[in-house]
Symmetry: C2
Subunit: 568 residues, 2 copies
């Protein structure tokens, strides 16, 4: 039996429900999307009382399995108008497991001027404490205050000042193993959804007593070790261990898909100044608190995270990921890792998604509000977001809205969510994936880039995208880190054996993929009910009309083709 | 035969085409919406080269018939994402008629950084002149410069600095009989469409030689006189002659539908400070250039327009209309006509719609950016729009976008277009109309307010709205002023006789209404093709969940009901 804790944010009532179905067993996106689909009226105002926010850990949360503690957060997105699952690392998933919880649901909403609350979940029950003292503070300060009050082992979840003002690019920050809320479920504006319920923080105390009741503990241990071995042997995982996701800078530059100058180009002169080797060397040279390798959750055999130090060796930002290096770096023609780290830190403090804000700044630069390549102007724009100025609010609303307000047609998004760090005209596989995701432009599933023999042609990309949509979604489906997929893409047996030895439940690989596909069907169905049509799954017209200079390619994927890639 | 002048704004090529079909005969919205439907790809970027902009005069343009010179401007709207017809008074319609033109089409688009052009149409042909000197200037200054260059009798069309930056609330200004570009086709962001084609002004020279070739001139004169008599005898038209549309302030206050405090209330304490009598008395007392009665076009027997003078008797703004008095007055809790006139003047100079910007300021006030009732802050916000600051751009994007950016759920719009000056929970007839218009929330057709026995109930409102949708659309359908409808609502014979005696074409009242209904069908079909679904024809959720205090009413119209009201 798996427990769902419901919290009515209007009345303060709480209730525990028990379920034994497979969606609760698997948890993660399997569960969050089903709960959203069942319980949230698709046409509702995402910032109104009819929306709900579900925090789900996964099947292996709280065990010693590597990379199994992602937290899937689901609800209706104010950014895309559709369903959203955004997941984060950190320690919240395991703390929930220790409290015996598979899911926490925030329901209903008090009036918009109600006092801020902190939801505290512990072995003795649920409390809604006054959170007024956190209001308006940055996420780093909130994190410190929460740690001071509840201990650094508590699993903390909070939102930044951007979410407090309901900005659509605001995310939800989860605490890492050091007690710092730096692990973001960044995409889709779920921070605003949490804030719309006047919940400014959630704390899962470290006093939970639940232990995994393994059916076959020895087998589970063996299979866990096998997963670690697979991760260490896999060349992609190993690359991430050394360089983190930053390894993608050189790869994308060479493929002409490194977003540059508001997604006008796919190559940035001087990209080597922000590539993985430069980052690695900088971190090593500066020493101090810097780390080239770092775990966002425990345990993790990949440790793709990092700690980027300033010149004096003090922590500047942790982590810096490739997507941010592209959207806040090359896309703005910025060639300085310190600038990117500074912007990333401000984004984390404001509580906004680095991709959506980076893309919005790109739009603002194209609109002439600052020059591409102007480091100080770019940092200044992030400070505008942090300070919630009018310009900051435009940028914190994501690139679609920013483009409308600033009169820019080349808005890099699908369904309102900024395109991740792969310029779509140069990779028709990723383009197909962007047009197929129920979440808006997304790279965390359907990641074809490493497997495209001919990235410039759309031929065969429906099938390729769908293949990788399943491969990627398998991880989300059970709360595993996405990067585990490389090690098990040809054989899910190790993970399925873990489920078997834990729960004594047999799930075949085919059954599992059916779950994944059904999740996608459910998500697309929600979007249709929400009023999203086939015509919404398009890039801005400029991507179709104007060739990307380096490849000479225009977008050529038709509505019919992308519809096929969404058909499950 | 009726002439269509096509101008390719990318190549500079021009072409005259001749048509004799009934849609060209009727002109107005009958023609503009058919041309948009036939020639504009519904899914295109409204600010891209695939959109077109059609300027159509009506069947009786250039004749001595009263109130017959409205100019219908049609295209795809960047504000609503659907079809748009927005019409204005002024002298452009007759100047086009004198040049033998029923329609001018702006097609294609040069690149966004191309030089601004002035399109000049005269008896000797079409010229595209450099318009760089107009860039960035306000509409009043542009108007003066155009008049200085082309004469005050020329029919001038221009856009403001807001349109130059592609703001979605930007309109198109047409010159009045005094040569001032003060007659706005304000709604739907068509100013941005014109600017996206890099056309900063159009001038129809006063050198046209075409005269109406009447089939039966004497009969036409008789019928024209009959229309004038009907207008003068009709009590509604007569009321407008004395007070202009401002007469609606008291009516709406008494019905509890005067938009107040961002459409939260339907009554404003102190509304009498901005009502028709106060305006009338103020204009009379100040004298000078003030006029309580004024014609926007010639000839006009209604003359509902006015000239509002400042304390020294100098023209401050002309005209001030009820919709502006509500959206920029009561909706912001402002109780000073000078404030409203000043805001209106700035709006006209910036080139933005007073309704969409007034509604956006209401949203900004609810977001706490200024206090309701703060005159100076409200004027300051208009200056932000005029100065194109970040806040100004937010406000100049209309209330839907402003609400998203500023985190406000109670956004008063349908399809992105601000609700006009009748709070919909207090008048279910107008609410039904707002939800039925293919143009977004609109009051210029389907005006039920004067004919609702029980405004608080939705019963019977599908039929009532549809009845008045036809009555109102008849006027747009042939380029007549909307206010003529009161005089002919029970009998269209006088207008149909004018067509007969002019063109020797018999159109029965039923045939005419079939044209009107077919136009609506065509418009809704365009919207469907553009991706607008039944779910988009809704108010913000708050209108359904929260009662308007004065009436205790919530919005209760269902999707099914509003769909019926859009079914033709």
């Amino acid at each position: 039996m798996f427990s769902l804790l419901r919290i009515n944010t209007a009345t303060g009532e709480t209730r525990i429900e028990k379920y034994s179905s497979k969606d609760f067993l698997l948890g993660g996106r399997t569960l969050s999307s089903r709960l959203v689909s069942r319980e949230v009226e698709a046409t509702c105002d995402a910032l109104g009382k009819k929306n709900k926010l579900f925090f789900c850990n996964g099947a292996l949360a709280g065990t010693a399995t590597s990379s199994a503690n992602r937290l899937s957060i689901g609800g209706k997105s104010p950014l895309t108008g559709g369903i959203k699952e955004s997941n984060a690392g950190g320690i919240v998933g395991s703390r929930m497991a220790e409290q015996g919880l598979r899911c926490i649901a925030l329901e209903d909403a008090p009036t918009g001027d109600s006092a801020w609350k902190i939801v505290v979940v512990g072995k003795d029950g649920v409390q809604l404490l006054d959170g007024t003292f956190l209001a308006g503070k940055g996420v780093y300060e909130k994190s410190d205050l929460l740690t001071a009050q509840f201990g650094k082992d508590a699993g903390c979840i909070t939102v930044g000042p951007a979410a407090e003002k309901l900005l659509m690019a605001s995310g939800i920050a989860c605490s890492d193993p050091h007690g710092v809320c730096s692990r973001y479920a960044g995409r889709g504006g779920l921070g605003a959804v949490m804030a719309s319920k006047r919940v400014i923080a959630m704390v899962i105390l470290a006093d939970g007593k639940h232990k995994p009741a393994f059916t076959n503990k020895e087998q589970f241990k063996d299979e866990s070790r096998r997963v670690v071995k697979l991760l260490k042997e896999n060349p992609v995982s190993a690359l991430f261990t050394k360089y983190g996701t930053a390894a993608m800078v050189d790869i994308c530059q060479s493929l002409h898909v490194l977003p540059t100058r508001n997604f006008r180009h796919g190559v940035m002169e001087g990209a080597e100044k922000i590539n993985a080797q430069t980052m690695y060397d900088t971190i090593k040279a500066r020493g101090g608190e810097g780390k080239t390798q770092h775990a966002c959750m425990l345990p993790c055999a990949i440790q793709c995270s990092n700690v980027y130090p300033d010149e004096g060796g003090k922590l500047l930002c942790s982590p810096i990921e490739y997507e941010t290096m592209a959207l806040m770096g090359s896309n703005l023609c910025l060639k300085n890792l310190d600038t990117i780290a500074t912007m990333n830190r401000i984004a984390n403090d404001a509580g906004v998604d680095t991709l959506d804000c980076g893309a919005a700044i790109g739009v603002a630069m194209e609109a002439g509000l600052a020059d591409f390549g102007d480091d100080q102007a770019a940092i200044g724009m992030m400070e505008e977001i942090r300070n919630l100025t009018p310009l900051g609010r435009i940028l914190g609303s994501g690139c679609k809205v920013a483009a409308k307000v600033l009169g820019i047609r080349h808005a890099p998004h699908v369904l309102g969510q900024a395109i991740p760090a792969y310029e779509p005209r140069g990779t028709k596989g990723m383009a197909m994936t962007y047009l197929s995701s129920p979440m808006g432009a997304d790279h965390t599933f359907g990641f074809t880039l490493r497997d495209e023999a001919k990235p410039l042609t759309k031929e065969g990309k429906v099938g390729l995208s769908k293949k990788f949509q399943v491969i990627g979604s398998r991880m989300d489906a059970m709360g595993m880190c996405n990067f585990v997929r490389y090690a098990v893409r040809h054989d899910m047996t190790p993970l399925l054996n873990l489920i078997k030895s834990y729960y004594d439940v047999d799930i075949t690989a085919n059954e599992f993929d059916d779950f994944v596909k059904e999740t996608l069907r459910i998500e697309h169905h929600f979007n249709t009910n929400a009023g999203i049509t086939a015509l919404d799954y398009r890039f801005a017209e400029t991507f179709y009309d104007e060739a990307q200079p380096e490849t000479g390619e225009k977008m050529d994927i038709t509505d019919e083709e992308s519809a096929q890639a969404r058909q499950w």
